[in-house]
């Protein structure tokens, strides 16, 4: 699809004695797509939103929407609405007038703006709250009104800055559902900042992972988890299995053994595999890629995290309640070929015999 929102080479440094908050960021989103900007605190996510909204000026790079370059365009003329983590509802206006704010600013009459606002209030399922003071709303209701207010601006791009992070988990799930319903009706293009991986994967079509102001990877949630572009991405997303080695003729050679990695380029590489993709089997299972001893079993709700030592290498598997494992058990470890991924890095490990 053609990119609709395009950020090219964005750079922003808040002060000269600090590293750039955002450096050479290039990112795009198609029309109607939801892109989650994911990253740890201080990675520059909010700065990106502020640059896109025009609240801060980039030192380099450009932002364009639908082919229109927004350099030098004031925030109110960009057609981009920003919803902050705090609802920031205007306390001197009623709920309906808060939502009618953007239409009023666009020159719509008070009456027509209110009619329009009522439609958006209905969209966020707060039909009867129009005449209320915003001070009478709960936290979740405030966020719904804030979302309706941003949508009422009918922006080309909607920016969400951790909009649901202050809500409790059940309210957050409600808001995710609401956002899905809103998308089904008006298909806005959304760039959403979050530090919550679960939120990013459940709400967004694609995730852009930002670390220290650099874009590490922009991909679908599935590919981000199973095919991380770097060890930083893998580790940020909770990946713990890393086997440094070398790829030669489609085989990754490391201390854990020779493992097939079709299509991987030759050279130094770390093989990564999600712990959720690792299976445990009988030590005599011929399909096992390695055999080892269970070092620890940690319970994580209905699932358990099992650490296995195979020839001095630790392999972590996250297993369901159907699989039993006790400390000291001898187990076979299955690393499905489809779930293996190599991250190229310069290194020179000693080759190990036997291919599995």
């Amino acid at each position: 699809m053609m990119p609709y929102l395009e950020l090219v080479g964005l750079r922003r440094q808040h002060s000269s004695n600090q590293p750039p908050a955002v450096n050479n960021l290039t990112l795009s989103a198609s029309r109607g797509e939801v892109v989650a900007l994911l990253g740890p605190s201080g990675s520059g996510k909010t700065t990106v939103l502020r640059l896109v909204a025009g609240l801060d000026e980039p030192e380099a790079g450009s932002v364009s929407v639908g082919g229109r370059d927004l350099r030098g365009v004031a925030p109110e003329r960009r057609g981009i609405a920003l919803m902050f983590q705090r609802p920031l509802l205007f306390p001197h206006l009623t709920v309906l007038d808060n939502i009618a704010f953007a239409p009023r600013m666009a020159g719509v009459s008070r009456r027509d703006a209110r009619v329009k606002a009522a439609r958006f209030l209905e969209l966020v399922q707060l039909d009867d709250y129009g005449d209320r003071s915003v001070r009478s709303l709960s936290g979740g209701q405030e966020q719904r009104v804030a979302l309706a207010r941003a949508l009422a601006a009918e922006p080309d791009v909607l920016l969400l800055d951790e909009p649901f992070s202050a809500l409790d988990p059940s309210l957050r799930a409600d808001m995710h559902q609401l956002l899905a319903e809103v998308r089904a009706v008006i298909e806005p293009t959304i760039l959403m900042v979050t530090h919550d991986q679960t939120e990013a994967t459940s709400v967004a079509d694609s995730i852009a992972l930002l670390v220290d102001g650099h874009l590490e990877q922009h991909d679908t949630p599935d590919r981000l988890y199973t095919q991380p572009a770097s060890l930083v991405v893998s580790r940020f997303l909770g990946g713990v299995n890393e086997f440094p080695g070398v790829v030669s003729a489609g085989v990754h050679i490391s201390d854990i053994g020779h493992l097939l990695v079709p299509d991987a380029a030759d050279g130094g590489a770390v093989l990564v595999i999600r712990q959720e993709a690792v299976f445990l089997a009988s030590p005599t299972d011929t399909r096992a890629d390695a055999v080892g001893e269970v070092l620890s079993v940690e319970s994580a709700g209905p699932r358990r995290t099992v650490t296995v030592r195979c020839d001095g290498i630790r392999v972590v598997a996250e297993v369901g309640p159907a699989q039993s494992a006790r400390v000291g058990d001898s187990v076979g470890v299955l690393l499905p070929v489809s779930q293996r991924h190599v991250v190229p890095v310069p290194m020179s490990p000693a080759p190990v015999p036997a291919t599995r």
Binding site: A53, G54, R86
Partner: protein, 282 residues
């Protein structure tokens, strides 16, 4: 615990009652004097009630003096409030080089005795041939700015710029943001600020006397002259009551405004975040 609570509650009621008496009791004899045609010593109450004092006060020009006072106070409030607000906003959001120094200069008129300043400025104004009324207004505006700046500074410390940024992304121009978002949000503080500036203009005696050269007859000037000149307590009481009544009525009028535009509870919870944003620590 219960007796202790009872004791606290009793002390609270007694304390409040005491405060009310503290302010109201001195006004009672003054109010009685307003309607006393005769109140010779040692009578506890006036021996003859009437409106002679009121008529006398009108004859001596209390209405026009009050008009001048109102005008002077209104001008001081109208000029000093926006200046104080602009200064406070610039100082709070770090847009002023050497902000501390500027703040000290702005607040200096409170620390320096006004008599000394006025004597010095009077000579300057005379040499520059500045008309008395303009001089009085200028000096009173300068005297009111520390109060307006201080009140607005406190207000801006709790003001979240996020509201204004949100409004911009919703399509509001800087001008629309100012009048539709910024001013309504700080309106309670602006009102208090204007009230204090009004009081500076309304209650001034020294500046009006020295710089005005006795040509600008305001209510305090008339009151001062009447007190020292006629010795007619009833007339003095009428003028004194008018001096008190006008600010009191104004205070009553602005009370509903002072109580509105409080932030939503989410905004209050997130105040530290907002404060962090104020100093640009994103």
């Amino acid at each position: 615990m219960r007796p202790l609570r009872w004791l606290r509650s009793t002390f609270g009621v007694v304390g409040r009652l005491g405060l009310v008496l503290w302010f109201v009791v001195p006004l009672v004899p003054m109010l009685l004097w307003v309607f006393a045609n005769r109140w010779p010593y040692p009578s506890v109450l006036p021996t003859e009630l009437g409106t002679d004092g009121l008529h006398q006060a009108v004859t001596e020009g209390v209405a026009s003096a009050m008009g001048r006072s109102l005008l002077l106070a209104a001008v001081v409030a109208l000029v000093a409030t926006p200046i104080g607000a602009a200064a406070a906003r610039a100082l709070t959001f770090g847009r002023v080089p050497a902000g501390r120094l500027v703040e000290v200069i702005l607040l200096a008129p409170i620390a320096i005795p006004s008599f000394a300043v006025v004597m010095g400025l009077n000579i300057v104004l005379l040499r520059w041939r500045v008309p008395g009324l303009v001089g009085v207004m200028t000096i009173l505006v300068v005297a009111a700015i520390p109060y307006t700046t201080y009140v607005m500074r406190v207000a801006y410390l709790g003001h979240d710029l996020g509201y204004e940024e949100e409004a911009r992304t919703l399509g509001a121009s800087p001008e629309a943001v100012r009048w539709r978002v910024h001013v309504p949000l700080v309106l309670p503080a602006l009102t208090v600020s204007a009230f204090l500036a009004f009081l500076v203009g309304w209650s001034d005696y020294i500046v009006t006397l020295l710089v005005g050269g006795g040509q600008i007859v305001t209510l305090p000037m008339l009151l001062g002259a009447t007190t020292t000149g006629t010795g007619n307590e009833s007339v003095v009481a009428v003028m004194a009551v008018l001096c008190v009544l006008c600010p009191l009525l104004l205070f009553g009028a602005i009370t509903p405004i002072r109580r509105r535009s409080q932030p939503t509870h989410s905004a209050e919870i997130d105040r530290p975040v907002a404060a962090a944003e104020l100093v640009g620590s994103r």
